[in-house]
């Protein structure tokens, strides 16, 4: 199985602050990989290391078989990069930026770019700095598609986009990736979008990885249970084994776990909580994310 991205024992400190702690991940060719986590958990640090803008304190990160901080120009030609905030050459126009980039990529597919630009309804002499965030995102996406890369790395692609532009972005990305068997590595804070498009996900916690699995497996194996019991308060605590997270709102108890209902019931009886009318509540990926990482 070919790994397009491979990180081994990735560790990084900012001064004395440990941000990444022995992170190991592999992204297979043809998959869409989503990295989720709260602010400050190391998502941007991981992306910066992947993009080659940060050298990790220790560990190794390979992209298309090369060290991420020393990618050859030939390898960079195969990677489409979307920087946080949809960074673009603001001083250029729609026409100028396409003309500039096309000279770097021999397989440039201009029709992908102009197809998206046609939807903007702007003059081709319109400067990028005079565009809204959503319009700029379309320009950047068009440039990436026209490049026809093997790997797309999208850092917080949803930042600053309204629901309309986010939906357009996802629609185009899905069509493009599925049709051409590309590999995508993305981060986003909008979990409901990620749910539509991602195959595999990792969820990062404070100085550790909380979860790494295909999304379909997460949906199948991660459960949310609810019951009411005033006596449960203080008796149930999260651990790495049975209960991933527990929330108390008055006498309502919500448990998040990878274990089946039978095991949870047995655990509750063991700690003296009997006759709890516990039931499983289906959840979205966003609710699963909050369940794993907590609300605060």
């Amino acid at each position: 199985m070919e790994h397009v991205i491979e990180c081994r024992n990735l560790t990084h400190y900012y001064g004395n602050n440990l941000v990444l702690n022995n992170l190991n991940l592999q992204v297979e060719r043809g998959r869409i990989f989503g990295i989720l986590g709260k602010n400050g958990m190391g998502k941007t640090t991981t992306i910066n290391i992947l993009m080659g803008f940060l050298r990790p304190t220790s560990g190794q990160c390979l992209v298309l078989g090369e060290e991420s901080h020393a990618l050859s120009p030939q390898t960079r030609q195969k990677i489409g990069l979307l920087h946080e905030g949809h960074l673009a050459y603001d001083f250029m126009t729609i026409r100028q930026v396409e003309k500039f980039y096309s000279r770097f990529f021999p397989n440039w597919k201009a029709e992908h770019y102009w197809d998206l630009m046609g939807k903007l309804g702007l003059s081709h002499n319109h400067k990028i700095k005079n565009m809204s965030c959503g319009q700029r995102s379309q320009v950047v996406l068009g440039l990436i598609f026209a490049q026809d890369p093997e790997l797309l790395i999208l850092d917080d692609y949803s930042m600053g986009l309204d629901p309309g532009y986010r939906a357009l972005f996802i629609d185009y990305l899905q069509e493009y990736v599925r049709e051409k068997d590309k590999t995508v590595f993305l981060t986003s804070h909008i979990i409901q979008d990620v749910e539509k498009v991602v195959d595999d996900t990792i969820i990062m916690g404070y100085q550790k990885l909380l979860l790494k699995m295909p999304l379909a497996t997460l949906r199948e194996k991660f459960h949310r249970y609810e019951f009411r019991s005033a006596e449960a308060i203080g008796k149930i605590e999260a651990d790495d084994n049975l209960i991933s997270n527990v929330e108390f709102v008055h006498d309502k108890v919500t448990l998040y776990s990878f274990k089946p209902l039978k095991e949870i019931k047995a655990y509750l009886e063991k700690i003296g909580i009997n006759n709890a009318e516990i039931r499983e509540i289906p959840m979205t990926l966003e609710e699963a994310f909050i369940g794993l990482t907590g609300k605060y």
């Binding site: 910066n48 993009m51 080659g52 803008f53 940060l54 050298r55 901080h69 120009p73 030939q74 960079r76 030609q77 990677i79 990069l81 920087h83 905030g85 960074l87 673009a88 050459y89 603001d90 001083f91 250029m92 100028q96 003309k99 500039f100 980039y101 000279r103 770097f104 990529f105």
Partner: protein, 223 residues
């Protein structure tokens, strides 16, 4: 790929190149006016004493003296401030071209435009001075301008270096050192005060290497 970089730098610099060219023509016209003024009102004899005895001709024409400096500063700001705002330099570093080639060609293209303006000014001055003075005076006067042109070049490279440096503390330090270096090129007030210009030329020739250093620090994620 070099054509693409030239295209990008031209988009950033084109209006400044045209404006500076216009200012150069105005400066030359002003120089003709000033020289004729000195001859007219000082009298030819007194003017000759001034030009030969005190070895002064172009020194008081401030536009001429500082135009290369202003041009170098403006070109470097226009080229590199847009690249460094919001870390936009990352876009360039991700292009499929080596980092060294990218930085040196960007700086090389900017300097090419600066050099074109300097040569334009130099040839214009040659014409202006030749109208009223013999070859020996023309030669001395033009030689006195070379440190100013080197100063303009130094300002261009050092400004680019400061802008490309990712750390603000280092930028301040570089700024102070750069001020000291650039001042050296403007200390002389008469002809032949610089015994040897070769050292000054060498310093300017080595300056593009500082760009590679700043670029490398940016790439490593140094703040």
């Amino acid at each position: 790929m070099l054509k693409a970089i030239l295209y990008k730098e031209w988009i950033k610099l084109r209006w400044a190149v045209i404006v500076i060219a216009g200012l150069t023509i105005l400066s030359l016209a002003y120089s003709i006016g000033m020289i004729n003024y000195y001859i007219e009102f000082q009298g030819a004899f007194q003017n000759w004493m001034y030009v030969i005895g005190k070895s002064l001709l172009l020194k008081n024409i401030v536009f001429v003296k500082f135009l290369p400096l202003i041009t170098g500063l403006v070109f470097a700001l226009l080229q590199f401030v847009p690249e460094m705002s919001r870390n936009r330099m990352r876009l360039s570093y991700h292009l499929p071209i080596s980092e060294k080639k990218l930085l040196l060609s960007s700086v090389g293209i900017g300097y090419m435009f600066l050099l074109a303006e300097i040569i334009f000014l130099f040839l214009g001055l040659w014409l202006v001075v030749s109208i009223n003075y013999p070859a020996e005076v023309v030669q001395k006067a033009l030689l006195s301008t070379i440190p100013w042109f080197l100063g303009g070049s130094a300002v261009y490279f050092l400004t680019a270096f400061i802008i490309l440096e990712p750390s603000w503390i280092y930028r301040i330090i570089y700024g102070v050192v750069s001020y000291g270096i650039v001042t050296m090129y403007y200390e002389a007030s008469t002809y032949d005060q610089y015994r040897s210009l070769w050292a000054f030329i060498l310093i300017v020739a080595l300056m593009p290497l500082t760009i590679l250093f700043a670029g490398h620090r940016f790439r490593r994620g140094t703040k």
